[in-house]
């Protein structure tokens, strides 16, 4: 094993057992940070009476990326993220962290692995009896780091999260956002290679949420730390995650680049989670008919991204079709750093108008979707 990370992993616990004949160097380079391979979690007995929280999940978390797992409450996302650091056991399939099978580790191996994985929580889980400083010091104490090294490490971490002046404060003296910053500093204390975030912003107000997300983004960029987060808020995924997986009833129903999933959702669950841009307002949704009757208007969604986001296409469409275009809904957003716009328009369903519009779409490369017909 020549690559740096493989050497590190090998020094901490048994090297991943490579398949016979596989090239260890190539494996080391391509090993994702986390790989779920048909991973499942079942509580209780098989068959009736048991409960399957997570079922045959195949998912990879790329090194250095921020990956979001989104789902409604009870979808199994909490269980899924806890299978990564062994807080929940894997009952079928495998979960590999940096090539190491979590399920095959003993208690000692598991503790070694956990010291390389930071975790932050919805309710922060700070010790009320310890100051911010001592909370950040806790994982280092647990790892047996000496006092002097702890002092040298904790101060800079508190500075990093912007709490350099709060070292002596107890959690009860801090706001929610400050508590989560302490939680983040604590999670970073042992220089982890992976950060797990369990609904880290769900207990925070929108403004604080943004500042915590900014912090996570900065840490990801500056330290190259891989982040796996779970959330029920699309906003969180949209703001920081480059990749997303949608979980529903214990299964991953859709996954990919956040921008792709967001702009072209395939699964019903994804669509309902996308509360903003792609959702029709209620009044419009109830008015849509699948088939036109005489005099009806066609309802079309125009999607702008990439090149089309920067061109004055709406104006040209109006010019093309005359003044008959009616704008009914729309939004322009930023999804993992890229602009994305969606505009719902209606115009006459008469064949020549529709044909002119379609010709325009073909010429400009605009992505469109016929949603139905309205009176």
């Amino acid at each position: 094993m020549t690559s740096q990370h493989a050497g590190r992993a090998g020094a901490t616990y048994a090297a991943p057992d490579g398949k016979p004949g596989s090239d260890p160097v190539a494996v080391a380079h391509s090993v994702p940070m986390v790989a779920f391979k048909g991973a499942g979690k079942r509580y209780g007995p098989a068959g009736e009476g048991g409960f399957t929280a997570v079922e045959s999940v195949d998912l990879t978390v790329e090194r250095g990326a921020i990956t979001g797992i989104i789902g409604r409450s009870g979808a199994g996302k909490s269980t899924l993220i806890r299978m990564v650091n062994g807080l929940e056991s894997v009952t079928s399939g495998k979960v590999l962290v940096d090539g190491v099978d979590v399920g095959a580790l003993g208690e000692d191996g598991l503790r070694g692995l956990r010291r390389q994985i930071g975790m932050i929580f919805q309710h922060f889980n700070l010790l009320s009896s310890r100051t911010a400083f001592d909370n950040v010091a806790l994982p280092l104490e647990i790892a047996g780091v000496d006092k002097k090294a702890i002092r040298a490490k904790v101060g800079p971490l508190l500075d990093l999260v912007g709490l350099g002046d709060k070292a002596g404060s107890y959690p009860s003296e801090l706001s929610g956002g400050q508590k989560q910053r302490v939680g983040i500093a604590r999670a970073l204390a042992t220089d982890p290679k992976l950060l797990l975030s369990d609904e880290a912003t769900s207990a925070l107000d929108p403004e604080t949420t943004q500042s915590i997300l900014e912090l996570l983004k900065r840490i990801n960029a500056d330290l190259g730390l891989t982040v796996l987060l779970i959330t029920h808020e699309m906003e969180v995924v949209k703001t920081i995650a480059s990749h997303v997986a949608v979980i529903d009833a214990g299964r991953i129903v859709e996954s990919g680049r956040t921008f792709d999933v967001y702009t072209n959702p395939q699964h019903e669950t994804t669509r309902t989670l996308l509360a903003s841009a792609l959702r029709l307002p209620n009044w419009l949704r109830s008015a849509v008919k699948p088939q036109p009757s005489a005099g009806d208007r066609v309802l079309v969604r125009l999607v702008f991204f990439g090149d089309t986001a920067f061109q004055p296409l709406t104006g040209r469409l109006v010019a093309e079709l005359g003044s008959d275009v009616n704008i009914l809904a729309g939004a322009i957003e930023e999804i993992s750093g890229e602009p994305f716009g969606s505009l719902v328009v209606s115009y006459s369903a008469e064949p020549d108008v529709v044909a002119r519009a379609n010709r325009f779409y073909a010429e400009t490369g605009l992505t469109t979707e016929v949603l139905g017909y309205v009176a």
Binding site: F121, H123, L127, S129, L138, A143, Y170, S172, T190
Partner: protein, 222 residues
Amino acid sequence: MSPDMLFNLLSKALMQTLQMVFIAGIVGSIIGLPIGVFLATSGKGELFPAPKTNRVLGLIVNAARSTPFIILVVAIVPLTRLLTGTSIGTWAAIVPLTIATIPFFARLVESAIREVDKGLIEAARAMGATPSQIVYKVLLPEARPSILMALTMTIVSLIGYSAMVGAVGGGGLGDLGIRFGYQRFNPEMMVLVVAVLIVLVQVVQSAGDGLARRFDKRNRKN
């Protein structure tokens, strides 16, 4: 009865009470604390899973707690004799007081530990903490204010129990109150004994509350 005599009897009895309460309190708590921690952490799926031992220990603790103290005093006379060489006197009284303290304090410690937010245990596990690190670095420090309250409650109950060990010649304030105040119709003595007990309980309670407050950082405001 002259004031001198009254004072001498009272101070002697007070010293006996303090001796019994504090020795039984300290020894009983030292033994009760780990039992309480074990009761709180050895259930199924907990830090030191040993559900059967947990159940057995729980039954023993319940049995000890449901035995009326005065019966306990008589029932363990052989043990008392083994440990102190006698079955009467202050030292002999300390044995049943200690035995009664252990399960009482253990249950209080158990509930104090169980009150600690489960999220903290999960966070510590996620850091790679061993079960004993979780006990020493998370559970005990977080439960410290509640454990101090439990200790206060234990000592206050012990003051009450110590009044009963007059039955085995244990001496102390309760004994003085019964023999001089009640049996010899000395109302001054009775009032004095009760007054001293009230002050004693008050002092212990205030000291305990103060200590618990000092260590409680949960609701601190700037």
